[in-house]
């Protein structure tokens, strides 16, 4: 499974899930790092991290630990396919009208 750490600076991807404790998940969600959101790695710190990412209009720094928790799909088409597969089990009617 790919995580944010697999991106190189300049690359972007789509968030699939965040596998972390409630505190970290909640914090990331509220900063806009949500499943399906587009996410880009802008730059890295002097020793390779922290990671500097852009997501939904915010610029955010993440440590390695947090970045590893963000699972991503790098290809847009793959993301769409995944979203479709998910929609088979997910409810489209409850969220489809807003997204």
């Amino acid at each position: 499974m790919k995580t944010l750490c697999n991106l190189s600076p300049g690359q972007s991807a789509r968030v699939m899930a965040i596998q972390a404790s409630t505190a970290i998940r909640q914090r990331m969600f509220h900063m806009g790092i949500l499943p399906n959101a587009q996410i880009a790695l802008e730059r890295v710190g002097p020793t390779g991290h922290p990671l500097w990412i852009a997501c939904q209009g915010s610029q955010i720094a993440l440590r390695l630990g947090e970045a590893e928790a963000v699972l991503i799909i790098d290809d847009v088409r793959e993301a769409e396919a995944e979203a479709e597969r998910a929609s088979a089990t997910t409810d489209l009617d409850s969220r489809g009208d807003q997204r």
Binding site: H30, P35, S58, Q59, D91, R95
Partner: protein
């Protein structure tokens, strides 16, 4: 963490009537109108708060926590004034950090008539999620779209009328730092006051989720939260928020209710395939997306962050970033200490003049205890605090500038990796660097850290960093015990071991006192903004004022106490006087002023040093009047409480190689580190000395071995943070336990280190 528990219980000082009952008109005049400002960090909330309140504000802390609290008053139409409170800047209202908990509590129980939600117009998608949450709490909302200038410059156009219609609350655009749109904002607040609304039912999170929430809402007991906030409580319970669940459990029927809520959650999660917390957050984002699609008639054409990106390409560069940061830090410290130096001199001479003036009030020969209390206890103590003010002002000016431009976050990004190794945060770096200048501003600079745990750990270890006030001690001790070639390496070793110990203690604290997971490092890097002079100056003055207030309270009382310890009891008959009377010693007049000055300045120092290497006790012969005075001072100190305490504690410090003289001088170091030098001078009956005194060095060299010197240096480096440190730690951490823990913890560590070094050194034959 205990702070979390405390934070939840922030009690209102006055009874808080349920404020937002849509039907009840406000009985004006009965109680003061209360308004709260809520918003994301960096949305310009502080600027708006300043613009609304002007000078009528008060900065402090929430009880028991390190979170800053800002209160002010704003004048409304018709001579009415309303209480305005600035809530901590938060991205959301979970219970996961003290800031968010406080903001949530204030919103739920603060009895605010209006809640102004401030949003950064250039990042509405994220900023309005907070609006959705405040709506869910049933608050009477005014939406303030700040940074309107930047959004407009980027080409974004918002249909405010449409937005008001869809949301059902007043919406205004403002430019906080230019104080534009304040009239409109106040008018909007008036409108909200005149016709309060509960926007709870305007919030649509999606059919399935709303249905589940409605089911949970019916299960929320009547007194669980105020009636308007039931929807909020329902959402919290549905997402299994630990605090709300615990509170529900405490109620009689809680467990069965909880079981039913769990059933609803399980079904929802099974049907949607996602957990409830995610569904709810997505619901907020979805609501905001839908809203913005309706109201943004023209989205930004230009990239509002273009300039920011260009700057970051240089200053946050992987290779260039650190050297640039180092240069910036150097510039700030250089300015702080060069520009701060002359005013420090003025303040010192001002206090000297004041002392002289006060002395003049007592005719020669009639000096009393009161005079000594005034000059040595009060003026001396307060002067010692105020003298650092120029440095503090300048440093905070630099810091406020870095903070408000957004550069501080970049610097934290650059050094976080290093700091994190020791359990600290990237933003701990600047407070720690500041600590080399003075521990006090360092501790106060921990306010720039967002996380309470990081703030507490950083302030705990700050005294380990060798501050400027300790430099005089090193300047006295190092040359006294070490040959010239060893002096520079020793000085370096002192500073380096202080820093190393600070990092080590931080690491251990993280492992012991703050076990468990790190707070998430999800740090926003806000766009660069040019701060206004007024904004930066305000911030600087606030912090300087907090520092000064200490001079009037704790520090003043402790200096009076320390003064009393050294001033009492008085010696009635000096031994030296008896010897003079017996003709053993003759007193001659002081040499002329000019001679003294010359002897002090020029190479006579060496000759004097040789003379002083002899015991200071005059065996026979003549002494000058000044020497007589000094010898009386020595007897005074020896007989004083401080001297007696030193003598009593001597056995305790013997294993470290200290005698009562050192222990007594260390009592003085508690008042302010550099007082150690002066106390040593008095004990060695040299009158007033400074750290460059060769006599004192020679005397120390005579009485103690270099091993004692090292042990002493270690103790003064690590242990007994000065009283100003204790006082400021108390105020910044909000609890005595932390300040006293710091004092005794570090002193114990100092004792252990000095003990080990001295005993091992002795075994090795030094």
């Amino acid at each position: 963490m205990s702070a979390d528990a405390e934070a939840l219980e922030i009690a209102p000082e006055e009874a808080r009537p349920s404020a937002v009952e849509p039907a009840a008109p406000h009985a004006e005049g009965l109680r003061r109108i209360r308004i709260a400002l809520a918003g994301n960090p960096n949305c310009g909330k502080t600027s708006l708060f300043n613009a609304l309140t002007g000078a009528h504000q008060h900065v402090g802390n929430y009880p028991g926590v390190t979170v800053e609290r800002r209160d002010g008053s704003v004048s409304l139409e018709g001579e009415r004034s309303a209480a305005l409170i600035d809530l901590p800047g938060t991205y959301s209202l979970t219970s996961l950090s003290p800031e968010e908990k406080i903001a949530q509590d204030e919103l739920l129980t603060g009895g605010h008539d209006v809640v102004v939600v401030v949003a950064d117009s250039t990042n509405l998608h994220r900023n309005l999620v907070l609006l959705a949450q405040v709506m869910q709490m049933g608050a009477n909302v005014v939406l303030c779209l700040n940074m309107a200038d930047e959004a407009r410059a980027a080409g974004q156009v918002i249909d405010l009328v449409q937005m008001e219609r869809l949301l059902g609350c007043p919406v205004v655009e403002t430019i906080g730092h230019r104080r534009k749109g304040m009239k409109e904002l106040k008018a909007a607040i008036e409108r909200a006051l005149a016709s309060p609304t509960n926007l709870g039912n305007r919030l649509v999170l999606g059919e399935r989720l709303d249905a589940a929430l409605a089911l949970v809402r019916d299960l929320v007991p009547a007194d669980f939260v105020k009636p308007e906030a039931k929807a909020w409580a329902a959402a919290k319970l549905l997402m299994n928020d630990a605090d709300y669940v615990a509170r529900l459990q405490m109620l009689g029927t809680g467990t069965s209710t909880l079981d039913r809520i769990t059933a609803i959650r399980t079904r929802l999660e099974a049907e949607s395939g996602h957990d409830a917390a995610l569904l709810i957050t997505e619901g907020y984002f979805g609501f905001v997306d839908g809203l913005l699609r309706e109201v943004i008639t023209q989205s930004s054409r230009a990239d509002a962050r273009l300039l920011t990106k260009k700057i970051d390409a240089v200053v946050a560069h992987r290779v260039l970033g650190l050297p640039i940061f180092a240069a910036a830090m150097y510039a700030i410290f250089w300015l702080t200490f060069t520009l701060g130096d002359p005013p420090m001199g003025w303040i010192e001479s001002g206090f000297e003049a004041l002392t002289g003036w006060v002395r003049g009030l007592w005719p020669e020969g009639s000096e009393s205890m009161l005079l000594s209390l005034l000059t040595e206890g009060i003026i001396g103590g307060v002067g010692g605090v105020i003298v650092f003010l120029p440095n503090i002002l300048l440093l905070f000016l630099g810091l406020a500038f870095m903070e408000d431009t957004g550069y501080l976050a970049r610097s934290a990004f650059l050094v976080d990796r290093l700091m994190h190794r020791f359990g600290l945060h990237g933003k701990s770096f600047i407070p720690m660097m500041t600590g080399f200048g003075c521990t006090i501003p360092g501790i106060m600079a921990t306010r720039t850290l967002e996380n309470e745990r990081d703030r507490l750990v950083t302030m705990f270890v700050l005294p380990l960093i060798s501050c400027g006030a300790r430099l005089p001690i090193w300047m006295l001790l190092v040359p006294a015990f070490f040959p010239a070639t060893w002096r520079a390496p020793m000085l370096f070793a002192i500073y380096a071991s202080g820093l190393a110990l600070a990092l080590l203690v931080a690491f251990l604290l993280r492992k012991a006192a703050f076990k468990g997971e790190d707070a998430p490092f999800v740090m926003e890097l806000p766009p660069y903004r040019l701060p206004t002079l007024r904004g930066v100056l305000t911030k600087m003055c606030e912090r300087a004022w907090l520092y000064l207030k200490k001079a009037g309270t704790i520090i003043l009382s402790v200096s009076i106490l320390l003064w009393a310890l050294t001033a009492f009891p008085k010696v009635e008959d000096y031994a030296i006087d008896a010897r003079v009377a017996a003709g053993e010693v003759t007193v001659v007049a002081n040499p002329k002023e000019a001679d003294v000055a010359e002897a002090d300045d020029v190479n006579d120092a060496k000759a004097k040093a040789v003379a002083a290497a002899e015991p200071a006790e005059p065996k026979a012969g003549t002494i000058t009047e000044a020497e007589l005075e000094a010898l009386r001072g020595q007897e005074d100190l020896e007989a004083s409480f401080a001297g007696r305490i030193g003598q009593t504690l001597e056995p305790l410090f013997r294993p470290l190689g200290y005698d009562w003289k050192i222990v007594t001088a260390m009592l003085g170091a508690f008042a302010a580190k550099e007082v150690f030098v002066a106390q040593m001078g008095i004990i060695y009956s040299m009158g007033e000395v400074d750290e460059a005194s060769e006599d004192l060095r020679a005397a120390l060299h005579r009485d103690y071995t270099p091993l004692v010197g090292i042990s002493l240096i270690l103790f003064l480096l690590i242990g007994t943070p000065c009283m100003a440190t204790i006082a400021v730690t108390k105020r910044e951490s909000g609890r005595w336990s932390w300040a006293l823990g710091q004092f005794f913890g570090l002193t114990a560590l100092a004792y252990a280190m000095a003990l080990i070094v001295f005993q091992v050194g002795r075994l090795l034959g030094f």
